[in-house]
């Protein structure tokens, strides 16, 4: 209750502006991934037979278009199914439902569908295509361990992802990164099958260069794709923290929730590398320190808490 008592209208981040920016970002992402897949396909095609690179391009475009379409129309369902999330009935968890409905009104968006993951690790994520087709999933642990203001903070963070259209970008990135990883893996295997066979036949220095480029790309592309995903997801966690706090007008609620989530050392079993970046805090609890945070899916929680505390 304390979160709704201040009566004023301070400056807010307009969700309309964020949404417009995300529309461009979506297009840019699709373009970047299409280019990435096309370059990969071209050089790998050239590697196997000179001139085959061009022939590989239509397949590359078909694959990137296909996965973009799948993620647009069914990405949220795939993610929810993979996370073993169950949709709440109309009379289950009335407090959670009231919080979601009230905060959705504050953002002027339709109230999303609510899912629960029966796992004691506290965490939450939002997914979907747009606010009309959005879902929000929370774990049983989150409901059990957080009080009302903390829960409000987490829900406001997730609803900001919905309102900002972050969810579409995040689903798209999740599926496209999966596709790139799958393709690179597949090409990598074909290198081994054909090793030594055609590589040196009818080719001079150009053939050798192409071979080097093809192999380098097969190694680098999934890493580049992963880095795009990380850069995209980390940046928007800060943004969602900020707009969530503006929504509840009570930054300490989310700060305290993040502290509790960080203190909980239990990993969330239904999360995996592809879906980890969707959650409000890294569900894998596996941050590798030696990469100097380059490969973290989330900004450090202490930094997020510090920024929230600086807000009021």
């Amino acid at each position: 209750m304390s979160s709704v008592t201040t009566d004023s209208t301070p400056a807010r981040l307009s969700i309309y502006d964020a949404a417009a920016a995300n529309r461009w970002r979506t297009l840019l992402l699709i373009a970047v991934f299409t280019a990435l897949i096309a370059v990969l396909a071209y050089f790998v095609g050239e590697y196997f037979a000179p001139g085959a690179g061009i022939a590989a391009l239509p397949f590359a475009f078909a694959i990137s278009t296909g996965s973009a379409l799948v993620s647009y129309f069914a990405g949220d369902k795939l993610i929810l199914a993979q996370s073993q999330a169950r949709e709440l009935g109309p009379s289950e968890e009335p407090q959670l439902r009231n919080i979601v409905e009230a905060l959705a009104l504050g953002l002027g968006i339709q109230s999303p569908k609510i899912y629960v993951i029966e796992d004691s690790a506290p965490n939450a994520f939002a997914t979907g295509r747009d606010p009309q087709h959005a879902s929000i999933a929370v774990t049983r642990g989150l409901l059990d361990k957080l009080d009302r203001t903390e829960l409000e903070g987490v829900i406001a963070h997730e609803l900001s992802h919905v309102g900002n259209r972050d969810i579409r970008v995040m689903v798209l990135v999740t599926v496209l990164v999966g596709t790139v990883a799958l393709l690179a893996d597949w090409m990598w295997r074909s290198f081994f099958w054909t090793q030594g066979g055609r590589r040196d036949r009818d080719r001079g220095g150009a053939g050798a260069i192409i071979a080097v480029i093809a192999i380098a790309l097969a190694v680098l592309t999934p890493i580049i794709a992963g880095l795009i995903q990380l850069a995209v997801s980390r940046q928007r966690e800060y943004l969602a923290d900020a707009s969530g706090a503006l929504l509840t007008r009570y930054p300490p609620g989310l700060a305290s929730a993040l502290r509790k989530i960080a203190a909980d050392k239990e990993p969330l079993e239904v999360a995996n590398k592809a879906t980890a970046s969707l959650y409000i805090a890294n569900p894998l609890k596996d941050a590798p320190a030696f990469f100097d945070h380059l490969f973290d899916t989330h900004p450090p929680i202490e930094e997020r808490i510090k920024r929230l505390e600086a807000m009021d």
């Binding site: 209750m1 709704v4 008592t5 201040t6 009566d7 009231n98 409905e101 009104l105 504050g106 002027g108």
Partner: protein, 186 residues
């Protein structure tokens, strides 16, 4: 040569007018949509009150003035809901809120009532509705501010009036401590 320059200037001006006009229409539409959200929640509150009054009446038989006050305040708020401006509606809703508070204050004196499931459900529903009203109101006021600001800044302010754009009213409820339904302890 001069004709081209003149045409270019006229074209640029026309584009500017169209863009500004469309932006104002969009912003005003957002205000209207946000108002509809508040309206739904206020109606929900009005719908819950008769049940609350009936339930409390069953236990607190000697408090008829309190019930009469809240019933009148509700009727006034419902009447204001059909036509009045945001400011008048806010006034009626504030009356209703304070009348509602006295109902809950009365209810506190009847321990058996506190144990009734229907009463618990009703007070929970009312609390949730107040919450929703407050968030919907915040969204509405944010949209009114965006609209009014762009209406009043140069150069839009020069011709906004010619197209019939008028500043919208904020929806201000009484002080927050007064606005909340008192927490009922079970």
């Amino acid at each position: 040569m001069e004709i081209v320059v003149v045409l270019v200037i006229i074209g640029a001006l026309a584009l500017f007018f169209i863009a500004t006009y469309n932006r104002l229409i969009t912003l005003r539409q957002r205000v209207k949509e946000a108002w509809a959200d508040i309206d739904v929640q206020l109606k929900r509150r009005h719908d819950l009150i008769p049940n609350l009054v009936e339930t409390v009446k069953g236990y607190a038989t000697h408090e008829s003035t309190v019930f009469q006050k809240v019933t009148e305040a509700r009727a006034a708020a419902v009447a204001a809901g059909s036509s009045a401006s945001p400011e008048q509606r806010a006034q009626a809703e504030n009356m209703l809120t304070s009348a509602l508070r006295s109902v809950f204050a009365v209810a506190e004196n009847y321990p058996q009532l506190q144990a009734v499931q229907e009463f618990k459900d009703l007070s929970e529903n009312l609390t949730a509705t107040e919450d929703k009203i407050s968030f919907a109101r915040r969204f509405y006021n944010g949209n009114v501010r965006d609209y009014n600001t762009s209406l009043q800044t140069f150069p839009t302010n020069v011709f906004a009036g010619m197209f019939g754009f008028k500043a919208e009213q904020y929806f201000e409820l009484a002080d927050a401590t007064e606005r909340e339904v008192p927490q009922v302890k079970f």
